[in-house]
Symmetry: C2
Subunit: 702 residues, 2 copies
């Protein structure tokens, strides 16, 4: 018997489709292609996927929708996120309500997965020129009865004679192009040789340029750097959201999705491969001049590639026009879970103690074996993994920053969806990973969101009045200089979170233990108890400033979430320093999109990492992507990557005996001038010297 | 606009279908899956594809068929093959008549491409045990926090420790199976290692056997030898017709098909790949016991492979049950054109002087890249090519016979659809190829056919009466001891051809120059002029003995065709001997199915090769296939193959200055006792000493 289906329509997009009866609204949204926030990966804990099931007959769609068409309300799961009034209106958690009959669903703006503002531009870093792909042009003698050796041996003999290349191989796809290429331009060809050993492309005539792309696959965002492998130039950059976000926000949610969903691994793998292909497409599209500017010069001589690859504008200047086949090399850096999921490797062991990856070593995989749409005989270089929670992205950071070549002791913090730490210098290197949770990226907070328009990214709180001024992404003036209706605030993004906490602390709204300072806030209307949850909260933006018709607040629970994250980071740093036997680091580098936007002073105020001179704190941008690019342009960096992956000592923080104690202590806001000498003058004395140090009891429940 | 189609029904099979209007009957037969002989590859010269277009309304199929529904008669092309009477009946050449409207076509038995009797059993040859695939079973320690190294590195460390294996790699498909395999049987796995460098399969638990298949892809037939790579046993053999036969009988016809048909190369490649997959399927099916004998023992312990691979019969004895994934290695030998077509390499250069192949060297190609349906990470070893007309099949013959290790001078003749020659010993080796044409395999003769039931394979002609006795394939008694209606003669196959010519000569029916001896045949009703062609012909089997309602004859033109073939072979041998500076060979080896069936004495009578003691003439069966099997079981043979391919000197006979003269001379039947001392006593004196030696004028026109 065929599976029973029901009709579902999503508003405001109007997308509609048939889905299997009994599936939940999130599953239906995926099937129909509507993006709803599902940060926890349907574990029913994040409360982000609130939707409204509409009541009534909708003429336009000829559909009778009713709240009764989904499975009943589940008090223990939904009451935490939806109050009685909203419940009456038909609000439900999308991951809880299963569809029994036709429905029309409204997705409120807050629940829509917005397109994130990805900021992963390429930085200038020093890379020695030694790409894995090198081009060799050669003219061969035509065969005759005196010399009737076969095409491939003829080519090899020529390459040995002219360039000293020996022992070359090639695959069947390249071989198929050989006889045609040799005969197309009078036995002149350009071959692309990979790592001095395999011919991966043969083009007729003389070709001067080859291209490659370095890709950084993050849990949330992906970035691609299209490079000329002959000049080392970055030709274009492109980025996109990791399409797997719909399966869950963090790596554990993705692993859970794989473990609980038959075919889940394949779906996630296919999605990210498709994403990478679109990333590549976007990167090369930028090299195509607009059609109208182009007039093809017929019979143009001396062009340095197949005709279709080069088009000429009217003035005669040559335009780049890169096609997907022109991409001859790819390097990819990712954390271990993303690595495993992209490559179709079971990520389950990575999620279970002692978290062994399926493989540490880098892999060279034929593009076609991964369905990555470039020159099909080319290889994809997958960066090596350090450990289950520290992958090739961390190796990329190492390659870009090279702490192993430095005398200074560097602390490198890469805050993505997971926090990754590197500590050391040329003598010794440690890495570790800490579960900062998604709070640092704005998730799992009452009004957390990704760095998309409407996200609060900068905040200032007056220490006298505790009044708030702020800025949002997508609007270029602060609240103070704007009309309320222009702000369209929607939530708080990652880089805003730190600001919020630092300002709450500096202005005295919260104390060093992270609780709201009731005394100071007694007269302040921004401070109140939420009528539903009975939790204290502080209003950052009033309803009239927002695009979601609600006050945007930070709750006591939110503060705790951020404290947990910053505590994990700080405790991790301290444990590594202890293991290394040092009291102080020379430099702090903050990598990741977070590092680009974070205010160094506020990071210090919050105690995100151990004390350091503010001048020695640097944002290093997308260092993981830079490392990937280094590996693309210099193959020795690939060996270095494998060396790093096996020689950096990974510390599993959670098994360190003092971790729990250190972690709780680190949840406090910094207050001791001996530990944070550089805070002096930045944080007012009365705040800084609130009292003695001591652990914070993590009283937060889910 | 959609393409217009017409209905076609083929009788007697009754197969029907729609085909594009305007295609010819042969094209239609391919689309519908009816095999019609098309030896010349639709060059409209072989006249094999005669079919009858029926007239009238056919109730059963609700079709109105008419001779007028195909394009008009073409006198210059069709009159050669179809007389006026048959033309009236609706007979046409299938490759000439294009279908304009619905038709019903009758395919006479003579035009049906019969299933050939393939005789390519494995011979006992000495092969040293050194397969490319070796199995290693290992028990690993489970990961814990003390030792949390990844799965692959854990496996490699174990293999280094226990077996000294280092530097191993693996591909992404194998890697995907790793975590599951390690955990399935308590960290005991068996890995298959290819050439000491790549892990191509990982199976849980202890596995004792691995399998491979050696495949000989001939122009006409293919054979597979399924071997146990751990015991070297041949487990089963299978064979099939090369499915490309429908595109033309010989390599030039196939190359022409590629050059004249868009997508022709892909079609031929896909067909042979599909053929190989069915060959493999047949070979492994023989290892599956009949279902009814099987009862699966539940919870059986200690089996040496995954449960599904082993089934147990009731008495408890273990049965082999090989699945396609258990095939872990494949070697393929083929001539250069078959090599190119199978691998999708442009075969055109191989058909044009100076005939350079696309590649000489052997290739290791991932099975999945060729869509060969075995363990997907395994490699297909494609034997190397010597030259455009001498390929890996000839290398296979070399590997099996090893003339390069012998002091004796060996002449090895491999008569397939092409004739390939090897001459030499440990000091010097020559190879060459000669266009024997398909006559030696029964094609392009008036009643030539493949070695299928009804084919005359042995013949004797009484030297006194010139009366004929013969045997056909599929009937175990000679004509003398049979009723005429039991013979069901249909034509003459390859091994019968030599018999016919030798007997015609020995019995004095033809003279040494190959013309019918009119004096001797004056009174013989078997000798006559064909009323249509005015060509002399000799009846081998009367109409009442045949299943096609016609006398089966050998014509003067047929005799010339065979003379051309044998002349080419003989002249080739003599030229090679001249080049080598020798007058006599020590041994003659005849390879190929032909060699298995040929009567050594008659081959000598015909002068197929230079004189040799009859005891030193050996049939060596399918030596090409044996060589392929040697390469499967001993990887040093693969290096030897590449050595052979580059060190055997290929002689291009057609460019030798004396070739044409030698060739014409060699078309004569042998008569000189000084050149053929061993003919003395075998051929009657009056025949042998007919007169002085001299070239035969090749008066045969197409």
């Amino acid at each position: 018997m065929a599976q029973e289906t029901v009709n579902v329509i999503f508003q405001p997009s109007g997308r509609r489709g048939k889905v299997p009866k009994g599936c939940n609204i999130i599953e239906a949204s995926r099937l129909i292609g509507v993006d709803i926030e599902a940060l926890c990966g349907e574990k029913k804990v994040c409360g982000k996927c609130i939707v409204r099931v509409e009541e009534g007959h909708f003429e336009k769609y000829n559909i009778q929708s009713s709240m009764d068409h989904v499975t009943p309300w589940q008090e223990e799961l939904e009451a935490k996120f939806i109050n009685a009034e909203d419940r009456e209106k038909g609000f439900r958690l999308g991951c809880v309500a299963n569809i029994e009959e036709d429905i029309l669903v409204f997705v409120p703006e807050e629940s829509r997965a917005g397109k994130q503002v990805v900021s992963k531009a390429a930085r200038d870093i020093n890379i020695d020129f030694d790409p894995a792909i090198k081009l060799y042009t050669i003219k061969l003698k035509k065969p005759d009865f005196e010399d009737k050796v076969g095409d491939w041996e003829r080519l090899c003999n020529g390459l040995t004679r002219e360039y000293g290349l020996t022992g070359l191989t090639l695959d069947i796809l390249t071989l198929r192009t050989l006889p045609g290429a040799l005969r197309a331009k009078d036995w002149v060809v350009t071959v692309s040789v990979w790592n001095d050993k395999e011919v991966i492309r043969i083009q007729p005539g003389k070709v001067k340029h080859a291209y490659g792309i370095a890709i950084d696959v993050g849990t949330t965002t992906c970035a691609g750097y299209l490079c000329d492998l002959t000049t080392m130039e970055v030709i274009s950059t492109s980025s996109l959201m990791n399409p797997q976000c719909k399966y869950g926000e963090d790596v554990m949610a993705r692993i859970t999705f794989h473990m609980t969903t038959p075919g889940g691994l394949k779906r996630m793998s296919d999605d990210i491969i498709e994403g990478i292909n679109s990333l590549i497409k976007k990167a090369i599209a930028q090299t195509h001049p607009e059609k109208k500017k182009i007039r093809k010069k017929k019979g143009q001589e001396g062009s340095d590639g197949p005709d279709e690859y080069r088009e000429i504008i009217e003035e005669g200047a040559e335009y780049l026009r890169i096609n997907k086949e022109d991409i001859e090399d790819v390097t990819i850096g990712f954390n271990t879970a993303m690595h495993h999921i992209l490559l179709g490797l079971d990520p389950e062991p990575v999620g279970l103690a002692p978290f062994p990856p399926v493989i540490h070593h880098s892999l060279d995989i034929k593009a076609r074996d991964l369905c990555i749409d470039i020159n099909p005989s080319s290889y994809i270089f997958a960066m090596p993994n350090e450990a289950g929670f520290v992958g090739g992205d961390n190796v990329g950071v190492l390659l870009a920053e090279e702490p192993y070549k430095s005398d200074e002791i560097q602390l490198i913090i890469d805050i993505g969806t997971n926090g990754e730490l590197i500590l050391g210098n040329r003598h010794k290197l440690y890495s570790s990973s800490c579960a900062t949770g998604p709070a640092m990226e704005g998730a799992q907070l009452a009004f957390g969101m990704r760095a998309a328009p409407g996200a609060i990214e900068r905040i200032e709180i007056d220490p006298e009045t505790q009044d708030v001024d702020y800025r949002v992404i997508g609007h270029d003036k602060s609240r103070k200089f704007s009309k309320p209706e222009d702000m369209k605030a929607k939530g708080i993004c990652g880089s805003g979170i730190l600001d919020v906490l630092a300002e709450l602390y500096r202005s005295g709204v919260i104390t060093k233990t992270g609780v709201f300072n009731k005394k100071a806030l007694k007269q302040n209307p921004r401070f109140r108890k939420n009528p539903d949850t009975r939790q204290p909260e502080f209003v950052l933006a009033w309803k009239e400033d927002s695009s979601i018709g609600k006050d945007i607040v930070i709750t006591q629970k939110d503060v705790r979430q951020i404290q947990l994250a910053k505590g994990a980071l700080y405790a991790g740093c301290k444990l590594m320093m202890k293991r290394m036997g040092i009291k102080k680091v020379d430099t702090v580098k903050i990598a990741g999109a977070f590092g680009t936007h974070v205010d160094r002073e506020k990071a210090l105020i919050m105690g995100l990492f151990p004390d350091c001179e503010i001048e020695k704190i640097h944002g290093v941008g997308n260092a993981a992507g830079d490392g990937c690019r280094a590996a693309l342009l210099n193959r020795k960096k690939r060996d270095e990557a494998n060396w790093c992956a096996r020689n950096v000592q990974y510390l599993e923080l959670t098994v360190e005996p003092t971790f729990e104690h250190d972690f709780m202590e680190a949840m406090q806001m910094p207050h001791m001038t001996d530990e944070f000498p550089h805070l002096e003058g930045v944080v007012p004395d009365h705040v800084l010297h609130q009292g003695p140090k001591g652990p914070v009891k993590p009283e937060v429940k889910n």
